[in-house]
Each structure stands twice: as structure tokens, then as C-alpha cells.
Symmetry: C2
Subunit: 473 residues, 2 copies
Amino acid sequence: MIIPVILCGGAGTRLWPASRADTPKPFLPLVDGVSTFAMTLSRVADRTLFAPPVVVASAAHRHLVEAAAAAVGTNTRLVLEPAPRDTAPAVAAAAAMVAAADPGATMLVLPADHLIRDGGAFAATIASASPAVERGRIVVFGIKPDRPATSYGYIAPGETLDNTTSAVARFVEKPDAAAAARLIAEGCLWNSGIFLMRSATAIAELDRYAGAIADAARTAVIGALDDGAVHLAAAPFLAAPRISFDYAVMEKTAVAAVIAARFDWSDLGTWSAVWEIARKDAAGNAAAGDAVLIDTRGSYVSTTRPKVGVVGLDDVVVVASDDAVLVTDRQHSDAVKALVTEIEAAPEAVIGDFVRHYRPWGHYQSLALGERHQVKRLVVVPGGRLSLQRHARRAEHWTVVEGVAEVTVGMTMASLAVKTLAVGESIHVPRGAVHRIANRGTVPLALIEVQTGDYLGEDDIERFEDDYGRTPA
Amino acid sequence: MIIPVILCGGAGTRLWPASRADTPKPFLPLVDGVSTFAMTLSRVADRTLFAPPVVVASAAHRHLVEAAAAAVGTNTRLVLEPAPRDTAPAVAAAAAMVAAADPGATMLVLPADHLIRDGGAFAATIASASPAVERGRIVVFGIKPDRPATSYGYIAPGETLDNTTSAVARFVEKPDAAAAARLIAEGCLWNSGIFLMRSATAIAELDRYAGAIADAARTAVIGALDDGAVHLAAAPFLAAPRISFDYAVMEKTAVAAVIAARFDWSDLGTWSAVWEIARKDAAGNAAAGDAVLIDTRGSYVSTTRPKVGVVGLDDVVVVASDDAVLVTDRQHSDAVKALVTEIEAAPEAVIGDFVRHYRPWGHYQSLALGERHQVKRLVVVPGGRLSLQRHARRAEHWTVVEGVAEVTVGMTMASLAVKTLAVGESIHVPRGAVHRIANRGTVPLALIEVQTGDYLGEDDIERFEDDYGRTPA
């Protein structure tokens, strides 16, 4: 029995504006309306081959993991990271947990954002790695390149170990196109990021090459809280360096082995890759959502909110969401990363930019803006609490639409009253009143805030208390 | 003194999604943030040449006209159409009004959606038409073509009348490209839709060739209400055939004359035309709103709501609004009309399509949608009133954000209570309650509606009374 360890990290900025902090790439319905995380759960659903998976995800995405697991009908062991630290700490934490129960157990590390359609070939390829794994190897699955891609790492196979497995001669980080072509000619494979190893091997190699990470993960597992999910202890876990398992272990270990995958594979790393695997019409267009295409060919058009009309263009990508729109040539879609870098470097607008703004307690977004009013949607994560605050120039009116709100309102500190509001219930916060919103529940709280006043800027705020240290000193 | 008659009709579907039923093309800030209507007012602001203008507009756009006129500082005589009937009825109504005060007055008919920057050349060209007008001619201003456009009417000049003016030999409706090239070679001009004539001439020619329109307009003017604006009487005005002044009169009359315009001119008929006149950066891009362009040239990008990122494309048009996004090649931008036709032919979505839906009382738009909630923005025109209605499966919570609402709510017909809500005030409408919203004021009423319930479709509605005849028989 193999224990799948599914890693849900990876922001996937190349799939902006669909992939975002609150709905990262593994949870997007990219493949015929299904997420790659759900497909990954299904891929390891055969309980004669695979134990229930360990899923490592950000605490902020717990509800996404649980909803998908429930939809697929899979039991998972959910391990929550207080914040992402790349794959080495995640693998280390999973290995520590798995080894505590069974040091001899075999772990299959799987990124949650890959597409593999041929489950039979996948299972067969994994099974073929077992002899090497039993001899203490860490087997990485290599993908036969179909182009000189510059966005993947390459693996050069070395000495033959058995009829499917070779030792790894070396790892080559993302090469330029010319180097990539040479590597392909030499028989190198892409590094899929899928690994099979015994948990004891993982721990031994982590201890040898990344002792700080191994220690941090072990301490975080020992100090974890379990409320149906394992919450890794924040202080030790966040002390682990942010580094990938490839860098931390694979490029150094003497036990690396590689097997060429016999399954199809895409990491859906760009919108072009998403277009490649999408269902297309006779004109080569893949469209999702409220889109109308006229005289358009070879294009990917997706919208979750605005109606999109595309006229007279070929080979474009148009992705529209509630706060952002991407328009690019399909061949340039890996340049989206540069776009996101530029966008993230820009200062936030003070008011009414309609963009989702992430805060320690959740996020907010302006839905509508007038001369003297603004409508916002606020989402507060379980356990999240906004600062105790006051606005000099606006009133606010809140209506709860998801979850349960604990609201504190009073015209003075002495008269603060606490109320609980359920879905459909409202409260008015007069101009100048002290107020606070908290989510004491286990599901996200969403509320609609209608602001009215003569100035609506984010800087009209006086903070009295804050869980996240944002009060002025 | 010339009386300008500014026609604000024209939906301008080619500028979708910016031009819409509630903000048609003349009122869009297309030229350095200024609307062509405001520029048209400024063009005739010299009171030594022009009397205060008569503005003919849809009653639904009164607030747009008045706001622009106030911003420019111009007095206007505002004539409101109950619904648009094309230019012949509009010119006929203006002529009837002008002639009633002064039968010898000269009218300058000006579409509100054209761009003319050279005010001096404009005034000089208009002045040069006076001799012909005084001899009873209707002078149309012709534009020297710079390309074989297929979207304009052409005018073939005939016999010379004076050193600037010719009789019109014939009008040619939108030709194909080959015919357009031949017309240009023959010295034909584009029909600008700008006319100069005495009001008595207009009335005589309308009576001769379009008697039904002349009669309808006269009756509508006689029956008009005046509350600071002239509200044309609906029954007679709407009986007028929907036809242009060109078709109804100019193509038939014996008094048509043409003068070649010595001013610059654009009808901003396509996004390409808007790009042509826009301020552009070194890469030839014109961008407005929250847009980031990377490796992009020769493009027009405008957004009033979502953040827009364009990567690796040349010569495209991207226009994003709160409910729709257009993406097209600049050279194909006149195909937008086909897109709008296709979009308008599609059935309305039942729920959560984020598109503005126009109703007799105003419009509504979904701002956010969840499993069991929806947020809408409703705008009620002055005098508008929604039906008295009830929903079986949702509660509604309203907060007024602009104007004043008269709300009627009760759990039974016998217990209905009427309340007046100002900005920032709210009311809860429980599931099953009978309710109604009215705008008794003179400015639009906007309110935010938060719906909660297990079914949110538009078809969950029971109507008891309706001003617009929408109650079931």
C-alpha cells in the first residue's frame, strides 16, 4: 500500500487572473469544469493500491480541500501549513507524520496541479518503481519532452538499475532553449515533481542534506493541533527555509533514481497548456462562461463574471474574472508571469479599484462605487477578526450572506455591544461608531457592506485594537 | 443668429460595451475624458453666432443632458422624446418649436456624437452656407472622404449655386467598397448629417414629403408638458414613423444643397476611430483606466471596472466595463455591431449574469452571487415604480445609496406600510412580504439589494399591480 502525499502549494501566477491567493491553481475548474486537485484525488482512489492520501495545503484553503474531497468521496488526512514554505518542508512534515505511524510506509509525492488522464498507465508506472524504492531509492518520474521547454528542470539518467529504472546522473535547472534541445538529444527527461520513496528514506535524506528543515517539520508535527485536520505548529514550521524538495534533497542525494513516465502529463503551466488540453470546437476555440466569439479561431476564452465578446482575432487568450481581465496572444502566455509581477509591484488604489485585496483576516473587494457610496464584499476566514476601528466620515451597513458574524458596535468604548448575525441579518454602524467583525465559526463569513459618506478612502480608519499588529504604536 | 438643434439619439452599438441604453455614445467621455455632447455644446457656445441650442434627447437621458450642460455652462432648450424615433421626427419637432417663435429662424442640425476640433473652420463653413439657406435651400455639409468607407452615405454634388455651394445631384446610401472608390473618384462627399436650413423650409419640405411625421411632431409639440424641459406628447410623437431626415426629406427634396466642410470631422463610429483621435504613447497605445500593457503596440485599452492586463498583442481593442468585455482586432472593430446583434438576440440569463438589465422603471444588475445569496444594484428613474410584488423563496434587504426611495412593505395587502428612505437608510423585506419601490424624486434612485434564500431566480415573483402592464391577465 502506497500513501499518496498530495501537495497543494503553488500559486500558479502564470494562470492569472484565474489563479489567486484564495483560489490557487490546484482548485480551479480547469479541465472540463473539474479541478486538478479533484482529479489527483481520483487518480489515487483505488484502495487496493493506495491508502487514503495525506493532503498538505495552506490553512487558508482548508475549505477548498474539504469540499473537493467530499465531492470526490475520498477520506484524506489533511495537513495544514500556517503559510507556504515550498515543497521541502511540506514533504518533511508529511514524512514525519507517515513515519510516526509506519516507518516502512511508501510515500507517493504528487503535486495537486498536474493533469494525468491515463490512470492505468499512471498506476503501472508507479508500481514499476517499487523495487528501486524497496532498495532505498527515491524515484522521480521523468516526462519525455515533446519540445525544448525552458520552464522545466531536466533529469539526465545515469547507470541502469533495473529494466525501468536508472540512477540520476544529474539534475539540470531550467535551461535556455538551446541547452534544452541538447538535453533532449542526450535523452534527458523533464522533472515531473512526482516522487516515490519510503518515509524512512525521505527522513534519512532530509536529515542528511536539509537538517534544519527536517527538524522544523518534526517539531511542527509534534506541536500540531488536530481538529480533524493537522495544524502544523506555526513557529517551528515557519522557521524552515523556503526551498523545494528538488533543491534541498534530490540534487544532493546519492539515492536518486528516475523512471520514464508511461502516462500523459501536463502541468497546465500556462494558458496555452490549458488551451491544449481543453475541449475545442471546430474553429479550435475553447470557451467557458458567458462568451461570444465571432470570426475567431484557436483561442481560449473564459469568464467567471463579465460577458465577453471576441471579434476577429486568432490564437488569443482572454480570461475574465470579477476583478481582472487578461488578454494575450496564446504564444505569449508564459509572459503572464511578468504581468503579474508588474501588477503586484504597483501600489494599491485607495478606493474603488474593484480588485480583491487580501488581508490577514481574509479579503475584501469593492463591488460598486458612487460619488458618496461604496459597496464591498468582505470575506473573513474562520478565526479571523478585523481590527476594532472607527470611521470619521462614513456609515456602514452590513448584511451577512454566508456564515455567522460576531459584530461589536458602540458609539463609545464603554457602550460596545456584541451581537451574532446569521445569514440575511443586518446591522447599521453609524458614522463615528466603534466597530469590529469576527468569524468565530468554521466556515468563511461573507458580508455585504454598504458604505455611505462624503469620503470613502481606506485611510479613514482609526484602529484601537488589532490581532495582526496593525494598530499604530 | 443661428439656432443649433443638437440631436442626442443614436445608440452607437459599434462602441459596445461602453455605449449602452443608459449611457449612449454622445455622453461617453471618449475624447480626453470629455463627451462629444459636451464638445458639441462648446462648439456652438459663441452667442454672437449661435442662439442657445435646442437639445433633442430621450427622456431617459435628461439627467445626462442637464449635467453636461451645467458643466459646460450652457443654457439649452431641452426637448424630450418619450422614445427614440430616428432623426426625421426629432428635426420636425425642433422645427415646429423654433418656427412657432420665429418662422424665419435658421436651424443648424447637429448630431451630438461627432468630433470636430477646429471650431473656427466649423463656424466659417456654417457661415458660408447662409446665402443658399436664405434662398430656401437645405444645406448639408459634406466631408471629403479619406478612404472608401462603406458605413457612410455619399453625396454627389451637382450644379454650382455659388462659390462654396452646389445643388445635390443625388444621395447614395452606404455603398460597397468598390462603389465607394468610384464615388470618391467622381468627387462625392460623405454625408455628415449636419444640416443648415430655415425652420420654415424644414416645415415646408417635411409637409411635402413626410406629412405624417410633420403632423405627429406638431401635435406632440402642441401637447407637450414643460417642467423646465419640453416633454413631447407621447401618443402623437410615437405615431410618427421611425425614419431618418435623410430618407424622409433630403433624398426627395428639390432644395438640397451641399457644401464641402473645411473642418476636421470624425463620427467616432468605431473603436478604431476612437483610437485614431486618442492621445497615444510612444508605442501607439491609448489606455484609460486600470490597465497594464506589456509588449503591446497600436492598441486601445479602456476599462471602467476590472483591472486589464494585455500581453504580447498588437493593434487590438480591449474595452472592459462592469458587466462586459470586448476584445477585437482594431481593423475589425466595425464588426462589433454583429457581436451586439448576436448578444441582444440571446435570451436573458435567469440569474447572476452580472449584465445590466433594462426595465421600464430603470435597470438592475447583479453585483455578486453565492449559493444562497445575490447582491443587486437597482436604479429607478425619476417617476419609475416597480411592480407590487412578492417572492416565495427569498428575503430582500435594501439600502438606499443615491436619491430617495418610497418603499411599501407588508406581510399582507391589509398591512402595507409606506416609508421614505434617504441615503444610508435600510429596510428588510422578509420572505413572503408584499413590497414595492418607487422613485418620487427628480434624480435617479439607486439602492443595493441583498437577497438571501434557497432560490434566487427572477421567476420567483408574484405581481399584484404594475405600472407597465406586466401583471398576468
